[in-house]
């Protein structure tokens, strides 16, 4: 008993010495007495925590870089993280708090269209920039003058995917499976319209309820009876794994294609060789050879021991743009908004970024495919 006590006492002494050592080392380079505060609002707990944490890791990395280079307006950039749990009501509460806090000069967030749309009216009223790295719902930037997004809407992405299917893959008879929610329906509408304009023929359209439907055999069997050239997926990676597996079990062999929503290493783990040869559009691909992208991937890997995904990439460049706008505009919310709206040809890690007059972005997308169990650039 006594030994244990002495040992734990010793450990405590050692630990406190170590901790004290740490705290003296972390004195910040820029003037730490004055701060510039930017908020990151994202789901940091709950079902969507993995996406919020991608935001957090990427923005922390960017903030470190900014501070190492002297901060913003000579002041230290401080990030404050707020958890909206991907819940519309919670997102509104978070927005209320941020608008009321005069120190906050801009917000990176939120993650999902649902949360971003719910919070937007609060930000608009408070005159605070809401720059969402990921909200792709067409209505988002129509909510007011302070909403910006750093991701293509389905109106941009789905036609690129249609071109990929009809021209690059040369498949004309297309069956579509889409998730039955706002996002899936928008994706389907834009894809079908563009594919038909390019000379494709939609032979089947099937839907399912995300997170509930596990069995796709009946859907796949009825698609099989229509004899398509390809199956296009307006889905996420989890159900795509099931669709591909079940297709294989049924003995059907159709090429698959999808949107950037499928890009996740888990997909290959889930479905193995059943997704071999799948084509998809992509916002950001870690194997990208451009220097900006390469540098980001290396830094992120050093800092967090993992390869960044597209959500981290768009959050990283969102903070870069917002910090740049504050540097020019000064500490005034309305001026920051006007400065941000002027951004053109910003060299981000996902390519060149220009805001349209509606504060949407139009970005190039790469086409990637799964080959030998890995994502590779197809074009």
């Amino acid at each position: 008993m006594k030994k244990v006590f002495v040992f734990s006492l010793l450990m405590m002494v050692v630990l406190s010495v170590l901790l004290a050592g740490c705290s003296t080392e972390t004195a910040a380079a820029p003037d730490a007495t004055e701060e510039i505060t930017i908020a990151v609002a994202a789901p940091l707990s709950g079902d969507y925590a993995q996406y919020g944490n991608a935001f957090r890791r990427a923005t922390e990395l960017k903030a470190e870089e900014i501070n190492a280079a002297g901060g913003i307006l000579g002041k230290e950039l401080k990030l404050t993280f707020l958890d909206d749990r991907n819940d519309a009501r919670e997102a509104t509460n978070v927005a209320q708090r941020l608008v009321g806090d005069k120190k906050v000069l801009g917000v990176i967030g939120h993650f999902s269209s649902t949360a971003s749309l719910a919070a937007s009216s609060v930000y608009e009223e408070g005159g605070l920039v809401q720059l969402s790295p990921t909200t792709s719902h067409p209505d988002f930037t129509k909510q007011g003058q302070y909403m910006f997004r750093n991701i293509n809407t389905q109106a941009v992405e789905a036609p690129i995917a249609a071109d990929m299917v009809v021209n690059l893959m040369d498949k004309k008879r297309i069956a579509v499976i889409y998730i039955n929610n706002d996002w899936g329906i928008t994706a389907r509408d834009h894809f079908v319209e563009a594919a038909e304009a390019l000379g494709g023929e939609i032979v089947a359209e099937e839907t399912f309820i995300g997170g509930q439907t596990q069995d796709f055999t009946s859907t796949l069997t009825s698609i099989h009876s229509k004899n398509p050239d390809i199956i296009f997926l307006g889905t996420f990676y989890a159900e795509t794994g099931m669709i591909a597996q079940q297709m294989k079990q049924l003995g059907y062999d159709y090429p698959l294609a999808g949107l950037s929503s499928l890009y996740n290493e888990e997909l290959i783990k889930l479905a193995g060789d059943a997704v071999e040869g799948l084509y998809m559009t992509s916002n950001f691909f870690p194997g990208d050879e451009r220097p900006a992208a390469k540098e980001f991937v290396d830094k992120f890997r050093d800092a967090h021991g993992q390869v960044p995904n597209q959500f981290a990439a768009v959050a990283y460049e969102s903070l870069g743009m917002l910090a740049g706008a504050i540097e020019t505009a000064g500490e005034d919310r309305a001026a920051i908004r006007n400065e941000l709206a002027k951004i053109a040809d910003y060299e981000g890690v996902t390519g060149s970024i220009t805001f349209s007059k509606d504060r949407d972005v139009i970005k190039e997308m790469s086409i990637i495919k799964i080959q030998n169990g890995e994502f590779v650039i197809a074009q």
Partner: protein, 292 residues
């Protein structure tokens, strides 16, 4: 295409049946709608997966260990969340709400322990398939159907022919009287919960393997469908769970294949409602004398 759709439907139906057998057994003994069944089913599947991937166990040892551990989890659930309510003679609805609480707790526990992503479940029993002219049946599909039939028959024998089965039926009829006859009622209930959770694990693992994926929310819809299957067949009646499961599975599949994939659940549940309107006790259910 029609034959393939029927096969698809029967497979889906036997998955529901497999889950519903455990549901209906607990109800038959305790008259308790156990809403935690779906979450226990998910927990069992995750546990089996972890034993296989983290500890490198083979499929069968992992399967058996997860059945035993999850069975014990069933006992813990009863001891912590339901026994105190029985002691206080709380109304049945209190126990029902308690099982919903357990269900949410388990889902969140699994999310914290293993993360919220969908995970791959290895296809440990890859036995191939038989190819017919226009359709194919895999051996795994047949195993799932056979397992649910064997479990149904085994449970029927257990309840009807063994001593412990007799004690279970006595407890079901009247707890107080059973106690007076020298039956250790709490032991019987513990056993019932062990069995219910073990059955849920069998179903969870088989389904995880069939779809080759597990996720923390997999038990929610499965639990609801299994409950519907049990009610359709006559809740508390073991063969009814199989029949109910198959009917829901086949009607859902045909609805998705021939009418519209968006309405699959709506059509399946419309059939459920129609059957219950005509025969409120379910297809194989009999009117039970109400306990006084």
């Amino acid at each position: 295409m029609f034959f393939q759709q029927i096969i698809n439907g029967i497979t889906l139906g036997s998955i529901y049946a497999l889950t519903a057998v455990g549901y209906t057994m607990v109800f038959g003994i305790l008259e308790l709608v156990n809403f935690s069944h779906g979450s226990v089913y998910m927990f069992g599947a995750f546990l089996c997966l972890t034993l296989m991937t983290a500890l490198g166990l083979g499929f069968f040892p992992a399967f058996i260990i997860s059945i035993v551990i999850t069975g014990m989890l069933g006992i813990v659930i009863d001891r912590l969340a339901l026994l105190p309510l029985r002691r206080k003679n709380a109304p049945k609805v209190a126990s029902l709400i308690s099982t919903i609480g357990i269900s949410i707790f388990l889902q969140n526990l699994v999310m914290v322990m293993w993360g919220s992503e969908t995970k791959n479940f290895p296809l440990a029993l890859n036995l191939g398939h038989i190819q017919f002219n226009s359709f194919r049946i895999s051996y795994l599909q047949m195993i799932i159907l056979l397992t649910s039939l064997i479990l149904m028959m085994g449970l029927t024998l257990l309840v009807k022919k063994t001593k412990i089965g007799k004690a279970m039926r006595a407890t079901a009829q009247n707890m107080e009287a059973a106690k007076l006859m020298g039956i250790n009622v709490n032991l019987i209930i513990t056993f019932t919960f062990f069995l219910g959770a073990a059955l849920a694990t069998v179903a969870g693992v088989m389904v995880g393997m069939y779809y080759q994926s597990v996720d923390p929310m997999m038990g929610f819809m499965a639990g609801l469908k299994a409950f519907a299957a049990a009610v359709l067949g006559g809740i508390g009646v073991l063969p009814g769970a199989i029949l109910g499961g198959l009917i829901i599975g086949v009607s859902e599949t045909l609805a998705a294949g021939y009418i519209h994939s968006g309405y699959r659940d709506a059509i399946a549940f419309a059939i459920l409602i129609a059957v219950l309107l005509i025969k409120p006790t379910g297809l194989l259910g009999q009117k039970v004398q109400k306990k006084v």
